[in-house]
Symmetry: C2
Subunit: 329 residues, 2 copies
């Protein structure tokens, strides 16, 4: 089989980016200047007082929904939904507090809906958030039988003092990778094209996204050395370029690539893999100082983490040990 790309899988990233750029231009208002500048656009932060801001973000789980539908297993997709939002919030230094879900379905099916809800509640527990509200919309005619969509909204708080802007990232700082559980919730339009439904790896696609909130809350409370956090989502390792455009990355000791991503990698060019998937790192931390105590906190919470490299002065360039290519923004 020929190597495939995300675009061939029906997702036109350039077109989407064009839309988002037009959106930013068209929606720009003087009120936007009130927002605090936060790292990587992971969340908008609106000041409530001079010293406290509210961070908010929204996300969905993409076509991972279709895998849940195909496998008729609905109890973990809600974990993914919470993960996608909560992991974004922590990247600006916020502590997640409340979650709201939007759940749209063609026809309510009690058993299926309860399973989806169970996952959302489990996700909120893992993220130390409360499920503060939500909307359940039954829309006959819009969704095909058994189809549904989920959107999540997450809110957190952050003090101005501890807001992460990414501006403190400099060349020569340390980079920690925290392991992913698998493919997480991005790149499914491509992954579903190359992993056969009959493959033993198909069920692994559904493994829930890890929620990094609890260890990150502890790290940010105890240590002030973290200069950036990267939730590795759509765009893969290019997410590392979101925080600061004056540094690059040298990844000398990457974490192991999960089996399901190795399987996808048999059909997709290697560079494309790193530009689309998390490739073993669901979260990246950039640290101005010793990485040991931070790695220990992640391990204590049951996560696998290690120092994987350093920041460099090769602006917006990422090299990985042993790879003949380098990623650029």
């Amino acid at each position: 089989m020929e190597p495939r790309t995300y675009a061939e899988a029906g997702v036109n990233v350039e077109q989407a980016e064009g839309f988002v750029e037009r959106l930013k231009l068209m929606s720009k208002r003087p009120g936007h200047s009130k927002l605090w500048k936060a790292a990587g656009g992971y969340a908008a932060v609106y000041p409530i007082t001079e010293s406290i801001g509210v961070a908010c973000t929204t996300d969905g789980v993409g076509t991972k929904l279709l895998v849940a539908h195909e496998l008729k297993k609905y109890d973990s997709i809600g974990i993914d939904l919470v993960a996608m939002c909560a992991n974004d919030l922590i990247c600006v230094g916020a502590r997640p507090t409340s979650f709201l879900d939007y759940f749209a379905i063609g026809k309510l099916d009690d058993q299926m809906c309860d399973q989806i809800l169970k996952g959302i509640v489990e996700g909120c527990d893992q993220a130390d958030m409360i499920l503060a509200g939500g909307e359940t919309a039954e829309m006959p005619g819009l969704y095909q039988p058994g189809h549904y969509d989920l959107a999540g909204f997450a809110i957190g708080t952050v003090s101005k003092e501890h807001l992460i802007t990414g501006e403190k990232i400099k060349p020569g700082q340390n980079v920690i990778g925290v392991a992913s559980s698998g493919i997480h919730s991005n790149g499914f339009s491509l992954a579903r094209k190359v992993i056969e439904r009959s493959s033993k790896h198909y069920e692994e696609l559904l493994k829930p996204t890890l929620i990094y909130v609890k260890p990150v809350n502890e790290v940010l409370e105890q240590l002030r050395t973290v200069t950036g956090l990267v939730h590795v989502t759509g765009g893969g390792w290019r997410n590392l370029f979101r925080l600061n455009d004056k540094v690059g990355f040298n990844i000398e000791s990457p974490l192991p690539v999960p089996a399901v991503l190795q399987e996808v990698g048999k059909h997709v060019a290697q560079e494309e893999m790193y530009k689309t998937f998390n490739m073993g790192m669901g979260l990246v931390l950039i640290v101005d100082g010793d990485t040991g105590p931070i790695v220990e906190i992640f391990k204590k919470h049951g996560f696998s983490a290690a120092q994987v490299g350093t920041t460099t002065d090769r602006v917006l360039t990422l090299t990985v040990k042993g790879m003949p290519w380098e990623l650029k923004d």
Copy 2:
């Protein structure tokens, strides 16, 4: 044609309510006790300091989306999306600040997406909110060609002192109705069954939901006599029962019913109409005192408003002048 009901249109309200009840039970956590009690469940309010809370809510526009799709007119559905969220926020006394949208589509279509976005931005302007962020998800395989879904998420702030809980509502207070522009964004699964695509009223279905934020901001700033606000959404006038279970309503001078709802009413039993649609009142205010200054503020902002009745001691019972039935919760 036989009178129809919402259930016959494929929306099982009882089943949905059952799901929401199970959801509340399953998601209950000790953290929920931190939330401030706010009127009617219109928004969750999370305290940021002892005196300031953040109100948040989420909503969609239901199958009004399909009308936009059928008419190939996409520039106002975003106004509905913002309206559904912002009008909920003001019912707890909050001042809306930020909006986030979730926009999912099978295949990005630049022209259509720009139109949808234009409506969202227009809605934010009408609601004095900034579009702080959003998620655009291209999901080939989940949505049929040309189909899409929208979810909105709105945040506002409210001081503890001015939080509207509904507890100050007593029998004998005055009730103001503020006119709707038409059907707004609820009851479309039923309305689309009874209004033919060829009818001259079909296009009226798409008229955007009014956004009541600006006059309500002004009312709540200037006067402290409002004891309750009701955004009249799904469930029609039964929404009036959401705020306080110790009063009833006597509506002596209802506002005119918009033509499009009169047309729907030719095919639907009258009581069912009042239990499903806004019937001319998009927003209701309950006032402990003179209604004149409040009505004036709405008029100044271009809204039609009038005192329509009073609260009574006939608990959770609503009567309308000239109608043989009464609504009960």
